[in-house]
Amino acid sequence: MIPLIHFLLIGAVLFSLGLFAVITRKNAIQILMGIELMINASILNMVAFGKYDKVDNTGQIFGLFIIILAAAAVAVALVIIMNLFKRVQTVDPNQTKSLRG
């Protein structure tokens, strides 16, 4: 039986890596990948905590929900990034300034 702390540590490491990618990457797709990492970290936490609810399995159900939602979000995000690229020929979010006040 793997103790809970290991899940949490892996989740924290994943989250941190995702966070790092979001903050430092210059490519929108890489940032999106960072976000995916953070989502996965949170799913891992949900599933890990889910062992304390053996009656309703709320953690697992939430995990499934999040995976579906993340897939949908990735689809939308990728479309946005593609349109962005069509319009300004770049996927660096720091270069897209046309909406800046």
Binding site: L19, V22, I23, T24, I31, P93, N94, K97, R100
Partner: protein, 681 residues
């Protein structure tokens, strides 16, 4: 006698008499071309109204209309009209003489560019003078008294481009002010003592002045009491007021200067009417005077009469002689009031108005014609200087005749009005001196001498102007025929002839030798003269010597046979320099005033300006200090705050980098801070 008019109609007639000239005054200023028509018409209306009033009021009834004007506590001042014997006589006199002068003026100033002003001012004067005469209270009288002074000021300065005329009208105005202050003080004393200024209530037959008395050094009236010297002060105040207007010593020196005005003005204002207003005032308030004031008044009148007569002896300017003669004759009137013979003063005032007005008009005719000569021959000479005249009787017979008639009246020779009026004064002075005795005999002696001097100086004028040789042709080096000198036309001659008729005694008395048959004298005379030897003796010795003097003057001035004056002698110089009053007033008084002005200028410049300047400097210093505080403290604080906000905003601005990831970092940072904060607390 029952009047044919109702009270209301009388009021309307009186108002017509005074408003007609006032309307003419305004209309003349608007319709400039018709000025002389307005002037003549209005004064004719006044004359007719005055005549109606005269025949209604004279010796029958007194009308008094009053409407409340100003009410202060328990004192009310009315605006109203008092028509008694004195007012209607004066009204008739003023409007009659004024009408004649208006007619005369039409010709006299025909060539003036600004003649509408002349007629308008003349109408203003007539309005004011008629109002003075019929005002029912002293306050109203005072107001119009000022207005006649103002009209006189305007008319003296009619030729306002002449520097002398401007100085003369200024002088007249200022000297009149001195007198007016006296009048005003008198008014205030009367107001505080009697609580009214109504002439009828104060001085009428049942006036409250008669119920006031002096007891134990206190002047008691029904309303109030004050120390008795205030009675004398009140009397003296009115005396000063009258002296200012009637050109009595020491306020006489404006009148000779006033001769700078047109001669017609001199004849109306400065001979016949306005200067008589002073005497009129004395007559109005005469019950007020006590023994001290009356004696002073008599002395002033005597001194003025004598002084002015001596000055008139040596003047070369024809109008100056007449001016001093006027002063002298006004002195006679003041003397008459002083010795208590008001009737003689009124009578002499009336007769003097006629003959002195005529003298001026005749002199004006000479001056006017000589002025024409001056213009035609385009030469320069003084048309008023008698040294340029002589022998004019042949050239200007009408002028000479009327002048001689007026001169006879002035000298008081028989069959003239002057004979009656002047002898009335002389007899009264004799009786008065007889009653007092002692040193009072100076009065009749000096006044007799003055009377002889009067004869002498006026005949000096006649012989210098109308007889002897005409000097002007020699002065100008021209022939007599080239000068075209003759009598003026009808406009000037007819008024003069009418006045000449009025100089005869029969206008005033059926018997030209009897004072008791003189209607004008008897009405006002309260105490009939005793039929003493004086009535025979005084006229006799005055006239006999007068005739001797006329003959002497003829030989001195017409024939140049006797030369008895030494022009360097002190008495000649004293007279010629007008007793040095000019020098005294101009040098001493005026320089005193100028010195005072300089002192106040210095005070103003150094002290007042110094205070102002130093306070300005102080203010400047304070303002500089405030400026510094404002700049560095207040502005510094505000600016500092602003720059602090600016730098803060720059710092905040730096957060808004527009970079997505920066925002994200910030978000994370704030979220983590919040979390840490929550954990720690």
């Amino acid at each position: 006698m029952e009047s044919i008019f109702t009270n209301y109609e009388i009021l309307c007639i009186a108002l017509t008499a005074i408003t007609a000239p006032f309307l003419a005054f305004i209309l003349s200023l608007i319709f400039k071309k018709l000025a002389s028509v307005f002037g003549l018409t209005s004064i004719s209306i006044s004359l007719v109204s005055s005549a109606i009033l005269f025949f209604t009021v004279w010796q029958s009834q007194t009308f008094h209309f009053a409407f409340e004007w100003i009410k202060l506590a328990n004192v009310s001042i009315n605006i109203g009209i008092l028509l008694n014997d004195l007012s209607v006589v004066m009204m008739l006199l003023v409007s009659f003489v004024a009408l004649l002068v208006h007619i005369y003026s039409v010709e006299y100033i025909r060539k003036e560019a600004l003649k509408y002003r002349y007629f308008s001012y003349l109408s203003l004067f007539c309005f004011a003078m008629l109002c003075v005469v019929i005002a029912d209270n002293l306050f109203l009288l005072y107001a119009f008294w000022e207005l006649v002074g103002f009209a006189s000021y305007l008319l003296i300065g009619f030729w306002f481009t002449k520097r002398k005329a401007i100085q003369a009208n200024k002088k007249a105005f200022i000297m009149n002010r001195v007198g007016d202050v006296g009048f005003l003080i008198g008014l205030m004393i009367l107001l505080s003592q009697f609580h009214t200024l109504d002439i009828e209530t104060l001085f009428g037959a049942k006036g409250i002045i008669h119920s006031s008395f002096v007891q134990n050094g206190v002047w008691v009236s029904p309303f109030s009491t004050m120390p008795d010297y205030w009675l004398s002060i009140a009397g003296f105040s009115f005396l000063i007021g009258a002296a200012g207007k009637s050109a009595q010593f020491p306020l006489h020196s404006w009148l000779p200067d006033a001769m700078q005005g047109p001669t017609a003005v001199s004849s109306l204002i400065h001979a016949a009417t306005m200067v008589a207003a002073g005497v009129f005032l004395l007559l109005r308030v005469s019950p007020l005077f006590n023994e001290l004031v009356l004696t002073s008044m008599a002395s002033i009148g005597l001194f003025t009469a004598f002084m002015a007569a001596t000055i008139a002896l040596t003047q070369n300017d024809i109008k100056k002689v007449l001016a001093f003669s006027t002063i002298s004759q006004l002195g006679f009137m003041v003397l008459a009031v002083g010795v208590g013979d008001n009737a003689a003063a009124i009578f002499h005032l009336s007769t003097h108005a006629f003959f002195k007005c005529l003298l001026f008009l005749a002199a004006g005719m000479v001056i006017h014609q000589l002025h024409h000569v001056k213009q035609y021959s385009s030469s320069k000479f003084d048309e008023q200087d008698m040294r340029n005249m002589g022998g004019l009787v042949k050239l200007m017979p009408v002028t000479a005749t009327v002048f001689i008639i007026a001169a006879l009246a002035l000298s008081g020779l028989p069959f003239t009005s002057g004979y009656l009026s002047k002898d009335a004064i002389l007899i009264s002075v004799f009786e008065w001196a007889g009653a007092h005795g002692g040193v009072y005999w100076v009065f009749p002696v000096l006044i007799s001498v003055t009377s002889w001097l009067t004869t002498f100086y006026i005949f000096r004028v006649i012989f210098k102007v109308f007889f002897g040789d005409f000097k002007l042709p020699f002065v100008l080096n021209k022939k007599l025929e080239d000068l075209h000198l003759n009598d003026p036309n009808q406009w000037m001659k007819i008024p003069a002839i009418i006045l000449a008729v009025c100089c005869f005694a029969f206008v005033f008395a059926l018997n030209p030798f009897s004072l008791n048959s003189t209607w004008l004298y008897q009405v006002f005379n309260l105490k009939p003269h005793s039929e003493s030897l004086l009535h025979l003796f005084v006229p006799l010795y005055i006239n006999v010597l007068s005739i001797v003097l006329i003959v002497a003057a003829y030989f001195i001035y017409a024939k140049n046979k006797i030369i008895f004056t030494n022009q360097k002698a002190w008495y000649y110089q004293l007279s010629y320099n007008q007793w040095y009053f000019y020098q005294l007033y101009d040098r001493k008084l005026v320089s005193l005033v100028l010195w005072k002005a300089k002192v106040s200028l210095w005070f103003d410049k150094k002290i007042i300006d110094g205070i102002v300047h130093s306070s300005a400097k102080g203010t400047l210093l304070v303002s500089k200090l405030t400026d510094w505080v404002d700049k560095y403290i207040i502005d510094g604080f505000v600016n500092g705050l602003a720059s602090w906000v600016g730098s803060l905003s720059t710092w905040f601005k730096s957060m808004q980098s527009g970079k997505l990831q920066h925002y994200f970092v910030w978000m994370l940072f704030i979220f983590l801070s919040f979390m840490i904060y929550k954990v720690i607390i």
